[in-house]
Assembly symmetry: C2
Homo-oligomer: 403 residues x 2
């Protein structure tokens, strides 16, 4: 497959015709579903063969997601066919809008948001930083994918500014907490998974049912106020340290585009209970290479293939107690950190708890986020025929706390 | 005010004309908003003076909640006027349907669900049970209302059966976790608060803004699998131990009905940061007397007035980091426990960790829930003129785990 020259796909673009991530855009009129091609958005709701699918004219992906895997496959096949058909090029081109001319929206109404903690390197780094005299991993970590619910109502689209949160902070050497803006504002570079098809309350989704329910992938920045979090989180977990904002990419990459990225997860060093067993013939590790840019300097390249728990295991675990899934549920991997310093997915780890500042390209030093800082998480994955495909970036800028 | 005799309000009913809780019911046709009077539902969408409010004909309370305090007051005044007007009695009576003839639905689409931990007696009991050699309260507990996000998608209406959850359980003396049905299935008797009017991302709601945003109160049973919870919850908090089901009452009691129940919270034994300061002139402690019935035996009467943190402080805390509220947000108080054994709101406490079984009226002994058990949480509060008003009960029955 080569990109047809009549399509505006720049040489080396990560958004060629084998990628086709979905988003919601507007250009003057009402928001609708679009697919990214190069640096343009294709308004697919008006294309031949798709115009009868009214779910593509909606302002969120949810109605399309709810249609299920057969509809997802059919729409992707129709799109691929149109893009390959020379006689359709003029028709397709007439529905392309440059990205610069559109506004991208939050692609989905988030139902429940769950955040996991599935990188062994991240969990061990956090353990070493906060419990230096104990084993880095807690006893449950290799037995189940640890996770918790986050705030669905504060999931925001890439590009939206993030107000520095205020709250209670107490350093270990302080007697009492004080109120004020967070002094240890951090990122967490993560990969999120979007549920299309729900499940029944009281039933469970097996590892093998992953692709029957999950539609695709977003990039996530789970902004984290470490000083608020460390004071509040015992015993019920993170709350205000996370709930002020979680940014996600405008583009949802369908699992169908990631077939060539599927890899086995790392070897298991503890036996797994049967409901979490890997299926070696249908692995759901994903070879995504993330990049974290801090004011334009790439400070880390976290390898998603190093994650201990796969998203298929996360779904199996999340529903093993009979909890139902809904269209629009979003669950994220937890911070993606690899074994090396240049692969850590949080500034807590990159600056080793603030003790070892990071130098940016302009010479400035950083431990945690300063007002005005911009962070962008991007990713790419192997596609067919040796061509890499891109995941839509997630970016956000910190603006000062409100008085 | 006395109940007009032409209205079917039984002598001593807790649901007279000064109560008027809202719910969503159906009787053959499409669900719509109703108000409880005695043992009947008043279909209010067709009443004179209300029929133009199309939000009352919807299948959830959310559209009505979003209208805000002025509309809530106006609808309540219209209802009160109609119920007091002898010339309207026939008209009103024609829109009454016996509760036995209707199906009650989940009253709202839950946006985000937050669960607090605001009973000092409960938190201290849990501390004594799980950390017998340490101070019962953790250091942060008197400085902030500890809370976490729960699963909004598994909030279910009163009366729905609850399937016993399966999951990973590991007793302290076991080497590894095992998979199976929960052996320590518990309840948490709580009071929940329903947000009507949202708030802007990046802004905060002060303690004094409580009634501008919160519409009313539900009763909550936050079912809890203690064995699953105790193995999973470090370090990110409860997840599958809670996410299988949270039951709420079918009826939402408006704050306006609880004016006579407002009381000052207990004296503070630690100074509060300013954003959490109590307003003594506008207290939001609530004198609700809860009752917990286990297969028909009242095993506890938790006093809500003993809660250390008020719902107004919970809202102020929940938004102090700029997190927004949305119509349909539900936040619960945490288990309501008073100082005495007969006032504990969980079976973990009532059976003191399973060591001291509870005897029911039929002579049977219980520690945690058995299959077929039914638990009902009810509550009443002082109303005007010495008449007590009731909150709609929340009930649920445990059915066996699915194979």
């Amino acid at each position: 497959v080569t990109a047809d020259t009549s399509l505006p796909v720049p040489q080396g673009s990560l958004f060629g015709p084998t990628n086709l991530p979905y988003g919601v855009f507007s250009a003057g009129r009402k928001p609708q579903v679009g697919v990214r091609i190069g640096d343009s958005v294709l308004a697919i709701a008006q294309l031949p063969g798709l115009s009868q699918i009214h779910q593509l004219a909606e302002a969120t992906l949810n109605p399309f997601l709810a249609l299920g895997p057969q509809a997802w496959r059919s729409v992707r096949e129709t799109l691929t066919g149109l893009l390959r058909d020379p006689s359709q090029q003029a028709q397709v081109a007439s529905h392309l809008v440059p990205l610069a001319d559109v506004r991208m929206h939050l692609p989905l109404d988030v139902a429940d948001y769950v955040d996991f903690y599935s990188s062994e390197y991240h969990a061990a780094n956090v353990g070493r930083l906060f419990r230096p005299d104990a084993a880095p991993l807690l006893p449950n970590w290799k037995h189940l994918p640890v996770g918790y619910h986050g705030r669905a109502g504060t999931v925001v689209p890439s590009g939206m500014d993030v107000v520095r949160p205020c709250g209670q902070r107490k350093a270990p050497d302080e007697q009492s907490p004080t109120y004020g803006p967070s002094r240890r504002l951090d990122i967490e570079a993560e990969v999120g998974f979007v549920v299309g098809v729900g499940s029944e309350l009281g039933s469970r989704v097996p590892v093998s049912g992953f692709a029957d329910h999950v539609f695709g992938v977003v990039l996530v920045n789970d902004w984290s106020a470490r000083d608020i979090q460390s004071w509040e989180y015992v015993p019920l977990g993170p709350f205000l340290g996370k709930s002020f904002a979680t940014s996600i990419s405008a583009w949802v990459t369908p699992l169908a585009a990631l077939e060539h990225a599927r890899v086995a997860p790392p070897p298991r060093t503890q036996p797994l209970l049967e409901y979490l067993a890997d299926d070696p013939g249908q692995p759901w590790g994903l070879d995504l290479e993330l990049g974290v840019s801090w004011n334009g300097t790439t400070v880390s390249r976290p390898p998603f293939a190093s994650m201990y728990w796969t998203p298929a295991q996360q779904v199996a675990h999340m529903t093993v107690n009979g909890a139902s899934l809904r269209t629009g549920d979003l669950f994220a991997s937890g911070t993606v950190s690899g074994p090396d310093r240049g692969q850590y997915g949080s500034f807590l780890e990159l600056s080793w708890g603030g003790a070892e500042p990071v130098r940016l390209a302009d010479g400035s030093l950083r431990t945690f986020l300063e007002d005005g800082d911009t962070v962008t998480v991007s990713a790419s994955a192997p596609g067919p025929d040796g061509v890499r495909i891109g995941l839509g970036e997630v970016t956000g800028r910190i603006v000062p706390a409100r008085p």
